[in-house]
Symmetry: C2
Subunit: 298 residues, 2 copies
DNA sequence: AGCGGTGCTTTTTATCATTAAAGACACCAT
DNA sequence: ATGGTGTCTTTAATGATAAAAAGCACCGCT
């Protein structure tokens, strides 16, 4: 058919929930529209419905409440579609977790059913993934999953290294007054804190790692870098989630590598910092690769 | 309605064009499908149509030609939609050339009419542009053009510099036997050749520039780099097309900068090559920026 | 009995008509 | 004059639908 009337139903229920007492008046359509966050068209449809249900009496600009709203006046909402972000998460989860072989043809209909989104949005989502190289348009219809292969992981890691080493260089050249320095101090403390309780809390490392790399990269103000950083952190983050081998040991080592980078940066030792960063990124790359290999051999 | 039957019509006409003489036989459906590049379903539809038109007599696997094909047997084709590549070109052309202000809301219906593509494909195209930062999804429907602003150009140039300096570093470390060295020699000659006839042929520089940068970047085998290289060269290339100020002088200077980079590379002078590359990229950036400014003030 | 072939069915995708929603404009009432 | 409503136009999301692809089963010929 056509667009869903979710918007209308939502506004309808929202208005019912905040209805004035019997005999009270409702404000103008424009104000209601602002309040409910919808267009006047929707507001008018809701008002018409309420009038038809005998809840309101509408007469020009007078909108008097005739009776209180009952439970059965509420309009049922269909369970909502998955949001764009959820979709991204769930799709990556599917690709990375279930080890979908490279080259698999993607079935838009099936996926959209599984992920509970209109096919339309899935299509758009796949198109937006195009640039990340995980997925490809087939010549005559449909999509092909290129997959999260070792090749892919290597190239992603190398690209990450280029970006991050560049960030380190930029950072090392920043003046003392720059906000990044106190932020580095703060995150150093967080690292030391976690290190002290690493035996029990090593799971806390993943978010800290994310914030550390985000901080480093934040000094490069560039929309392209930022865009890629999103893909990168997404993928690395996902792998942290399910590669449990040697997790405690790995995380402790990574914390020490982070601290080495920070130490060199604070000493304004560009060469040292760059070297430390390369070491750390190489470790990350190996971790990522080994987790793929382990996964592939399960 | 539904899918267009362009595929069917095309196959129909193609088959007519290669029809054997009267009395001859057609090969199997599978073979025809391969030959025409379509599925068997389409082939069968075509054969049925030809039988209905009295051109073929079909009897089990015998497909005999009854009469030659006439001009009026050909099915008319609707003028075809714009291809994906054309769309990309035309869209960028529109954005860059007509100086669409940043923040403009894009009208999918109108654009799809103007560009002669189904709205559907335009949607997909806009989604795929998402990553390049030129366009953004609005909260409740529609798209917004973020536009090709000076900010955008600066960040693009900086990103380009990060990638290309990295390529230069990689290149300088390659062994003598690597194929890039003879390729560099060859492109050096092309530069010298163009330099000799620069007064008349300065228009030939743009493609040469494209090939030079592509060669430099070709040593980095990375799908993410390659992806971005496409965006970058597209945009720089577009600007070359219509910024005619000082074109001859600019191009001559650029050729000399290219030669300086090559010279340093061949001397394995990494620092020198990097410096020369930075200089050249800075010039490029200025050119791009000034062409935007000029354009904005027209 | 095997294999090249066809008949038929089942998916799956691209397109389009339809409807919800947004926005614009003109007019009305106070 | 200003805040409001009535009405119309435009636009985008959605589901129905037709085209194409892919799969399955069987047939006939050697």
């Amino acid at each position: 058919m056509a667009r869903t009337d979710t918007r209308f139903r939502q506004a309808h229920n929202d208005l019912l929930a905040t209805l004035p007492a019997v005999g009270g008046q409702l404000p103008s359509e424009v104000e209601l529209a602002t309040r409910l966050g919808v267009s006047r068209t929707v507001v008018r449809a809701v008002l018409a419905k309420l009038a038809a249900d005998g809840i309101l009496q509408i007469n020009g600009r007078a909108k008097q409440v005739l009776r209180p709203a009952l439970g059965k006046d509420r309009l049922p909402l269909r369970d909502d579609y998955t949001s764009r972000e959820d979709l991204e998460d769930r799709f990556l989860d599917w690709v990375l977790r279930f080890d979908v072989p490279a080259g698999t043809a993607l079935n838009v209909t099936r996926l959209s059913r599984d992920f509970n989104v209109p096919p339309h949005l899935l299509q758009e989502f796949l198109a937006s993934l195009g640039q990340s190289g995980l997925v490809e348009r087939r010549a005559r219809g449909g999509w092909r999953l290129l997959g999260f292969t070792p090749d892919y992981a290597i190239e992603l890691s190398e690209f990450r290294q280029v970006l991050e080493v560049n960030a380190i260089r930029t950072l090392a050249g920043l003046p003392e007054s720059h906000a990044v320095w106190p932020a580095l101090d703060a995150i150093t403390d967080e690292h030391l804190d976690l290190l002290a309780r690493i035996d029990t809390d090593f799971h806390d490392f993943s978010p800290l790692d994310g914030r550390f790399h985000a901080l480093i990269n934040s000094v490069v103000k560039n929309r392209f870098v930022a865009e890629f950083q999103k893909v990168i952190s997404l993928i690395f983050h996902y792998h942290y989630q399910w590669d449990k081998t040697m997790e405690r040991h790995r995380n402790e080592a990574a914390i020490r590598e982070h601290l080495a980078i920070i130490k060199a940066l604070k000493a304004r030792d560009l060469a040292g910092a760059e070297q430390a960063a390369r070491t750390h990124l190489a470790t990350s790359k190996e971790t990522l690769l080994s987790s793929i290999r382990v996964h592939h051999h399960v």
